[in-house]
Amino acid sequence: MLARRIIACLDVRDGSVVKGVNFQNLQKAGDPVALAQRYNEEGIDELVILDVTATLEARRALEMTIREVGKELFIPLTVGGGIRSDGDAGAVIDAGADKVSVNTAAFTDPGFLTRLAKRYGTQAVILAIDAKRIDGHWQVFGRSGSWPAGRTAVEWAREAESRGAGEILLTSMDRDGTRAGFDCELTAAVASAVAIPVIASGGAGTFDHFLQVFTEGRADAALAASVFHRSEHGVSDLKTYLAGNGLPVRLPC
């Protein structure tokens, strides 16, 4: 049976891991290579590197960081942040990424997802959706949460699927960094609307939050950053907890 995936996210700026709250106030949280190695040993299923300021400051995801992180890593690696052109995507894939995560460019360049899917396969194309609840609708934002795209999460996810996205990385901006739990309602709405896997992100604080997003939220995978960085909860403890609650997870053999 397909295991529910636990994904660790490294928000990287200038080669260091940073973490903010509600997309603001970024603070340094460690060395990406050391963190990646620790997560790998703890049994993380995938890693995501997001160059969090790439789009705002016109900076490409740091290829050096990707190479360093990927050196001793034999699990899937996704890179996002500032992937705006075919060349950007090619560069991070050449540096060792298995998948690219696209956000803003999917709005500004309507053919982008389709071209990437044709070139690298749909499995390599993730659409990142940053959504915030406004007047009862989940409004989608680009440019690291600073630009309202004028789309709602469910319709945008459906459109991305038809354009060639192989997965949706869905972040609740309301919950990001708050540790108040994932937005299960948002996740379930998107997960039931598309046939491709949905990765829930934003708000992880306790083991129970993960259980909730996999059950109520119907997530295929759950992503967290700060909850793992501070090593309050080991990845392996989390998986043991989920397995104890009847969810299929990959435990180290």
Binding site: M1, F74, P76, I93, P197, D220, A221
Partner: protein, 201 residues
């Protein structure tokens, strides 16, 4: 040349190369079909659309089949495994290598299952396979695909996502895995090392 890595312009060759390097094997990518004559083993990697394999052209097809018929071990990974079959409904005008009988078809999974089948799944081993030596029976391996090969006489292990499909095949010195050993942590690296052992490196 010890093991040749076939490059058809799609897919992430760097990961496969890195995976083999971690088990002490350097892969080379021959730039012309006749260079395959010097290869003691062949790896066909791949992600993406079945039609991508068409980029190799008839000369490559003949060179690969010729070497395999001459006894050179071959490992197909993901799309590279699907290419071992007669073809795929993903691109009906593109021929597979025809080394293993059957046609790959799309996974049709009813909700809540998703397609692509992306993530870590377990295997059901139908028989002992030298490629899987030392891999724990309950080990998870990493899959990411929307099309899959049928379960037939050459199937060594199955996995299930909506339906049961061939997760690994073995026919004489031909092996294929639908999952990505280069992304399957320790279990995957063991499989790559096993292939190197089968090539006798």
């Amino acid at each position: 040349m010890r093991i040749a890595l076939i490059d058809y312009g799609a897919g992430n060759l760097a990961s496969v190369r890195k995976g083999f390097a971690a088990v002490g094997v350097d892969l080379e990518s021959p730039d012309a079909p006749n260079a395959l004559d010097r290869a003691r083993g062949i790896v066909v990697p791949g992600v993406g659309h079945f039609s991508a394999t068409a980029a190799l052209g008839e000369q490559w097809r003949q060179a690969i089949v010729g070497r395999v018929n001459a006894g050179v071990p071959l490992l197909g990974i993901c799309l590279g495994m699907q290419w071992l079959f007669d073809g795929s409904t993903e691109a009906e005008d593109v021929m597979g290598l025809g080394l293993i009988e059957g046609t790959c078809t799309r996974l049709e999974a009813a909700p809540p299952l998703k397609v692509p089948h992306a993530g870590w799944n377990t295997l059901v081993h139908l028989r002992a396979s030298a490629l899987m030596a030392g891999v724990a029976p309950e080990a998870h391996v990493y899959f990411t695909h929307s099309f899959a090969a049928p379960v037939n006489v050459d199937c060594a292990a199955t996995a299930t996502h909506g339906r049961s499909f061939a997760a690994s095949v073995e026919r004489d010195h031909i092996w294929g895995v639908q999952f990505h050993p280069e992304k399957s942590s320790a279990a995957g690296l063991r499989i790559l090392r096993n292939f190197a052992d089968l090539v006798n490196l």
